[in-house]
Symmetry: C2
Subunit: 137 residues, 2 copies
DNA sequence: ATTCGTGCAAACCGTTTGCAGTGCT
DNA sequence: AGCACTGCAAACGGTTTGCACGAAT
């Protein structure tokens, strides 16, 4: 455990939502200004291998990363991405009913679902959306 | 309509499933050997603007492209991606029930669902999977 | 002293763009 | 001639890797 790795983990913990490597870099540099992007990637990879972090893959987007839940928690999650501020939020639950759309002969092992729309900040039409987008540029 | 564009469209039509730009290039070069990747991308973009083709965005993967259905068909589709041969297959239907997992205050505008597993060729344990994977390298 | 992690720069992959050349009208 | 489209190569953004330096044992 190095200072750099601690800074990456702190950045993820404080955000409470999935972050891109660049967002992690920006946040973690407040603790370790000399931190480089390559180190962020290397630590993310190590943390992924350790199952301390997991990757959130979004269609047509670069991966985001978040801290893994405590052991024993759900392994499977879906996400909501705001089309205005680009932030990603975890969801609870899973729609299921996948057999209905699976053609015969196909074996489903897992699935990815992403909801797209407006988060509460950006749906309201208030000025909050600009603040949120700016905060995460 | 140029020879190059015709070759791109033919490649998509003959495949009958979403193709990556590199797959399109390889297939279309059988008609137009001098074809370049940039031209594939430019034609894809033009065809997208024309709604003759649409992009299939997969989590953690480069986009694939397929011919748009005849006008009047469903605008919204989901896909199955084979974890063995990497090919992508269109599905019919949609699980719905998204309200159940949408937290209050969020406005869902659309969603993306990808099923991952084994396609019939690769689930069977026969030698077919190797043939399919090789065909699409 | 050895080892492991870091920081920087270069490499890499998929995609986009600038530019000169080609083929149509 | 003019114009749109092509092919190539360079640029680009995100990610990975090579390599020499620095920190910790």
């Amino acid at each position: 455990m190095t200072r750099q790795r601690g800074a990456v983990i702190d950045a993820l913990r404080e955000a409470g939502r999935p972050l891109s490597p660049a967002e992690i870099l920006a946040a973690a540099q407040r603790q370790v200004p000399s931190l480089g992007l390559a180190t962020v990637y290397r630590n993310l990879r190590a943390l992924l291998d350790d199952a301390q972090v997991h990757a959130v893959e979004l269609p047509g987007q670069a991966d985001r990363y978040e801290l893994a839940e405590e052991p024993g928690a759900v392994t499977h999650r879906h996400y909501f991405q705001c089309l205005t501020c680009d932030r990603v939020f975890p969801l609870d639950g899973c729609p299921g009913h996948l057999e209905e759309i699976t053609p015969p002969g196909f074996v489903v092992e897992h699935h990815e679902l992403t909801l797209l729309g407006r988060c509460p900040d950006c749906a309201g039409g208030s000025g909050k959306l600009r603040k949120a987008a700016a905060r995460d540029h």
